[in-house]
Every structure is written in structure tokens, then in C-alpha cells.
Subunit: 135 residues, 4 copies
Amino acid sequence: MLHTHQMLQTHPSPQPQALDDVGACIGALHDCAQACTSCADACLGESDIQMLARCIRLNHDCADLCTATASVLSRPSMAAPEIWASQLQACLIACRACAEECERHAPRHEHCRVCAEACRKCEQACSDVLSTIRQ
Amino acid sequence: MLHTHQMLQTHPSPQPQALDDVGACIGALHDCAQACTSCADACLGESDIQMLARCIRLNHDCADLCTATASVLSRPSMAAPEIWASQLQACLIACRACAEECERHAPRHEHCRVCAEACRKCEQACSDVLSTIRQ
Amino acid sequence: MLHTHQMLQTHPSPQPQALDDVGACIGALHDCAQACTSCADACLGESDIQMLARCIRLNHDCADLCTATASVLSRPSMAAPEIWASQLQACLIACRACAEECERHAPRHEHCRVCAEACRKCEQACSDVLSTIRQ
Amino acid sequence: MLHTHQMLQTHPSPQPQALDDVGACIGALHDCAQACTSCADACLGESDIQMLARCIRLNHDCADLCTATASVLSRPSMAAPEIWASQLQACLIACRACAEECERHAPRHEHCRVCAEACRKCEQACSDVLSTIRQ
């Protein structure tokens, strides 16, 4: 249904070996950016906002980095591999920090539980592409 | 697999009637942003770039607006309905302009054909949410 | 000190009549995006967060639209004037909504007062470019 | 004229020692994002586009990362110092790669010369904040 895989395949200079990982990672990055943006908005509707301030802040950092990383990975010509590597590393760190914070609130807030899941999946997807491009 | 629907459902103040449309629209916006970013990168690898300059420019306008619109729609508290309406309108216009240009190049470039499809789907999804919130 | 004006002037197809307005608007858009992002983060550190929830949400909507609009205006070839017009309109509406909310909190929070100022300036700058391109 | 410094100063938990560096860096990041977006659009109007394909691609990578980094730095509560450090590092690498490519085209294209200047200034500003937060 999504066009990501077709877009990567019809590129004049695709990188066949990494194609599946990159496509999956772009999907996970968008999913995580969405979850984080919604989680921040949901937190603002809870009665214990004060407790959730750090969660909201990390949600926004994570969403910003996921969105930027998705754009970079959507240019499969990969003009500078060192940009991919360092940006994936930064994004992975943001996903992990946000996941850890969301997990602390997961018992009380279902949106934090779901968001942590999206962050962990994205952390793993970034790590997978990093492994592929470092080979 | 994506967490969008769960994120919208676990929000403390969801808007049940629009939930499915909004979730589908966010997915279409991310898909379109990805397709446009990849299409621009793909166009730069073709031998007839000169012919594709306007396509690349509209790809970027469309990707920027889809990304921003996806963020706004990911805050389902909808703090200001007038922002949703005007931004969906602007995004729909960008999707249409980009689709029209991509369709002109579709016979020669498969990535333009796929991208046009993603743009048309997103134009429709924006139009659907617009109809819902105007009710 | 900023390079915006030089970048617009050295473009192979600049639009001389609108150059100063567009340059000033891009500056105002970045300034407003920055102010809104900082204001949201500052609000999360206040003891009356609950009262500031709508302010934080509009801060984020406004920041997202200002950033996207700045990108579109930074492509002075203006591939589709209808995209400029509708996006400037949407951005102006977000700036106004965010300014109105920030102004309500300005007596108690200095960051809301400063942010409202940045939003109003940006609303005006969007309006100026709109007038120019509609001529 | 810009409100960045006031926004950082009126934050309930500012970090006085880094305030000037962070404010200057946010300005340099927005300036660089703008220059890169305009440079890519300008390159598409030149007769030797083919030669400029890599420049356009790096322009977009650099603009995306500068925009995201500016957002993260605009949250001076600095929820996770490790996100600041890794993202500044990734952004610095993108600025350097884009500057190097733009410098190759500077003799022929004035917009590439100006853009390289903005990238180098931003690379330095990221490096300055990195030094400050590592102390």
C-alpha cells in the first residue's frame, strides 16, 4: 500500500543490498515521529503533566530527528555515507532516550506504552541500517 | 504494524468520528513526503535533468508541506480547527501541483509515475479530512 | 551577517520586486519557529503547565508551519505561485492563533510575551509577501 | 531584532554559561538551512545541472539536519545532553560535506560560494557548542 519500496526500486542508482533495510527503516522513522508527536499532545491532556514534562521534551527531540533522518534515507543515492552513519547514530540515541522515558510512564499511560514500542522498533531499525552500511 | 491508530485511540481527548480519516491521512502524508523526496533524488540521476527541474522543485515543496501537515494532524487535540483547515488546503494544492507535473514525466520515468500515485492518494486523503472537519 | 539576501540575489532567476519582502519573511519565519519551540519548552518548566497546554500545542503547530513555509520561500524560482499563496495563508493563520494565545499568558510569563511578539511580526511578514505576489 | 536571545534568557531553566553560544548556533543553523535550500533551487536553474547533482543532494541533507538541530537546541532545558552531542556531531559532518562540495563550484557559481560560507560558519558554530557542553 505504501510506495516506499517502489520508490527505492525505481531509483536510477539503487543500492540493492540495503534496499529492504532502508525501506523498513524509513517506515519505522515516520511511525516513531508520529507516535512521539501524538504522545506529547496526549501527555498535555493528562492530569499529571508536571511528571510528564521530560517525556514531552524527549518526544519532540525524537520526532524532529526521526523526521530529518527519514528525509536523508529517502535520498538513496547516499551522497555522503558519513552523513548517513552519524545521523543514524544520533537518531538511535534519541529513540533510546525517549523509549526509556516513555517506559517509565507506560504503567499509567497507554499512549506512553505504545510510543515506547514505536521508539524501540525505530532504534532497532536504525541499528540495522547502520550495520548494513558499515559492512 | 504501524502505531498511528493506537496512538490516536489512546489519546485522552480523541475525536472518534474523524479517527479513521485522520489516521489514514497521516499515513498518506508520510508516504507522499517519502515518495517526493525519493523522486527528487531519482530525477537528479537521470540524463534529462534539465527537463525535470520543475518536478524536483515541486517534489520538495510537496514533501515539506506533507511533513508539516502530518505533524499538525498528529496532535489530535486540534487546538485550532482553522489551522487544520487552511493547512490541509495548502497541502492538497501542493499534492495536486506535484502530481500534475510528475504525471507529465510518468511515461519516461517510473519513479515519477509512482510518485504521482502517492501524491494523488494524499490529495484525496487531505480532501477527506477537510470534508470531515467542515461538517 | 545572515546570507539570506545574498542567496536570493545570486539565484539565476530571482524575482527582483519581491526580493526584500521574501528575505525579510524568511527571517521572520525562522525567528518565529525558534521562539515557539523555546516557548513550548519554557512553558513545560512553569508551575501552571495545565493552564499552558493550549499554548504549547499552538506553539508546535506554529513552529511546524513556519519551518515548512521558510523552506518553500527559500526556493525563489516559485515553481507554483498557488502553493506560496495557500501556504502563506495557512502560516499566517497559525501565527495569529499562537499570538492570541501567547498574549493571554504574557502578563505572567515573559517568554509568552516575547513569543507573541515574534508571532505577530511573522504574521505581518506573511501578509506582506501575500500582498506582493497577489499583485 | 531576532527574538532568540530573549527567548533563551526568559526560559525558567536557562543554562547561562552556554547561552550565547547556543543562541549564535541556532542563528547559524537557520542561516545554513536557508542557504542550502536556496542553493539547491539555484543549481536547478543552471545550465550545468548534471555537474551539480551531488551539490543539490548534499544541500538537502544539510538543510534537513540543520533544521532539526535548530529545533533541538531551541529546547534549552536540554532533556538529554547525549542527544545534543550526537546531533551536533551529525550536523557538523553534514555542514562540512556540503561546504566542501559547494567550494568546488564556487568559482563558477556565486550562490555556491555564499552557501559554502554559511555552511562553514555553521560547522564552526556546532563545534563551539559541542566544546561548551563537553566541558
